[in-house]
């Protein structure tokens, strides 16, 4: 319980992966933490693709593999390139436990309970409406009912982070910097899932889907296997949905009906439909990460690796690093921006900002060349295999030359040069 009424050492806003990781790290160090969650329970407003990552999760919950409500251990990654009717699948399988599928309504709730056990004071069903500022420093939060004061406030309030915007840590999000994702969880018998995805016991499979209804758009589809359900969804950048007048759930329906996808989910009964924004602005769009008395973590800080689909791990580690910073701030009683900026240094030294920096140019290139890389070449992959697998009496050599020629008739030399240049530039920025 709180020592003084309405004043604590740290307030964390939002009980998602970053908020819980931050709060529990602080509580374990003996600090007084209030974790405020707007939902009925922690996890009740949270939506993701699917996976949590073992290395990052273990840093917060060393025994989670035994203790947490996880669904399946992902042993297979599929990269499925959809044409209009055909598809090419690249599949990588390895006996592994690098990531697990989870149901957020169960996992986040469990994580928040663990935080409570560690001494975190969890307040659910409470929305933080405003941050309280005194002398240019954040000193607390205003909920619908009352004011809470703290030495430091950590904003883990998710992608929309109205609070980070309110105090000027970032400007409003642009439509090209978020993807709108819709997903469905479909009930299916465990044995059927195992058969269809070639799995046994608790093994799981991830399918990352390119093309299909998202051809030519900066959008990707995904499937995850849970114990007795399959998750299917897609995310498309908001500006492209807006331009094209697409309804997101219509695209999802088209994806579900694709001949390469439909058999995997046949007979699945809709358990839950959901939608969420994914922060995709990348490195260049990361907001200011701290100010006097305040830090920003997780989705609220746009910490998502959009090529590798990682988010929950970046969230957890950012929460942990924020907590470590706050512990020092509490011990030195220095809550200035300068003191809290250690968080930024820690993030820079960790994989979180290193990875985001690696891909800093990725989205710009993809936005600029999406018709090439997210439409033409995807179709060409399928066209190649269509040609390669055909046996229609046409000599193979003729087929090869026809295929090679088609690239030069489909695209002008200038465009081909631009494509090659874009790839080289991208590789350069990633590797150097």
């Amino acid at each position: 319980m709180l020592k003084k009424e309405n004043k604590t050492e740290v307030i964390v806003v939002g009980a998602g992966p970053s908020g819980v990781a931050c709060a529990i790290t602080l509580a374990r160090a003996g600090k007084e933490v209030v974790l405020i969650e707007r939902g009925l329970f922690s996890g009740s407003k949270n939506v993701f693709g699917g996976a949590i990552y073992t290395a990052a999760t273990k840093e917060i919950f060393p025994n989670f593999e035994k203790e947490a409500p996880v669904e399946r251990r992902n042993i297979e990654h599929n990269y499925l390139i959809l044409g209009e009717q055909d598809s090419t699948n690249i599949s990588y399988r390895k006996e592994d436990n690098a990531s697990y599928s989870v149901i957020r309504g169960k996992f986040d709730r469990w994580a928040a309970e663990e935080a409570k056990k560690a001494g975190v004071y969890l307040v659910e069903e409470t929305v933080v409406r405003d941050l309280i500022k005194e002398k240019n420093r954040v000193v607390g939060v205003r909920t619908e009912l009352e004011e809470f004061y703290a030495d430091v406030v950590v904003l883990a309030d998710g992608v929309n982070s109205l609070l980070a915007k309110q105090i000027g840590l970032r400007s409003d999000i642009e439509t090209k910097d978020v993807a709108l994702s819709v997903k469905e969880v479909l009930s299916l018998d465990k044995d059927i899932i195992n058969q269809r995805f070639h799995l046994k016991d608790d093994e799981g499979s991830i399918v990352e889907i390119f093309g299909g209804p998202m051809l030519g758009m900066l959008g990707l589809g995904f499937m995850y296997t849970n114990k007795d359900s399959v998750t299917i969804g897609l995310g498309v950048t908001l500006n492209e949905l807006a331009q094209a007048n697409y309804r997101p759930f219509e695209l999802l329906e088209q994806l579900k009906q694709h001949p390469s996808v439909a058999p995997l989910i046949e007979g699945g009964v809709l358990k839950e439909y959901s939608a969420h924004l994914i922060p995709e602005g990348g490195y260049k769009k990361i907001p200011k990460l701290c100010d006097n008395g305040v830090l920003v973590v997780g989705d609220a800080a746009m910490l998502v690796n959009n090529l590798h689909w990682e988010g929950t791990n970046l969230a957890m580690i950012s929460g942990k690093l924020a907590a470590e910073t706050v512990i020092i701030a509490l011990e030195t009683e220095d809550f200035s921006k300068k003191s809290l900026s250690r968080y930024e240094d820690k993030l820079k030294q960790s994989f979180v900002l290193k990875d985001m920096k690696t891909y800093k140019d990725l989205f710009d290139v993809m936005h600029a060349r999406k018709q090439a890389f997210l439409s033409y070449y995807l179709k060409k992959v399928n066209a190649f295999f269509e040609m390669f697998t055909s046996s229609d009496g046409i000599p193979k050599k003729d087929n090869y030359w026809k295929f090679i020629k088609s690239i030069f008739t489909d695209r002008s030399i200038i465009e081909l040069f631009k494509d090659a240049f874009a790839i080289l530039k991208l590789l350069w920025s990633i590797l150097l």
Binding site: L180, E253, E272, A275
Partner: protein, 93 residues
């Protein structure tokens, strides 16, 4: 494509408030050409009433994703989270 969005939304637990947490500026909506919210919303919360020249907001169906707020071309949507006890509850997420 005709999709019964209500059927999808039936799978969710809602605790609707008596007043809307989504407050568009009606004057701006009349001037808005794209009316992006009416098709971008994954829960079809927004409908344009041609006769009344007014935006209908079925806020009880809101999934609280925030897409409409960002996509609103006139930036004239007052978008707040519902009260702590209200709104959507995801059990799966």
């Amino acid at each position: 494509m005709n999709i019964d969005i209500d059927k999808k939304l039936y799978t969710l637990k809602y605790s609707p408030d008596t007043e809307s947490h989504l407050k568009p500026d009606k004057e701006q909506c009349r001037l808005c050409k794209s009316k992006t919210c009416t098709y971008i919303c994954p829960a079809k919360v927004y409908e344009w009433n041609e006769e009344k020249q007014e935006l209908i907001v079925n806020y009880e169906n809101c999934l609280e994703c925030g897409a409409c707020r960002i996509a609103c071309e006139r930036k004239s949507l007052d978008w707040q989270y519902p009260k702590g006890t209200k709104g959507v509850t995801f059990k799966q997420g």
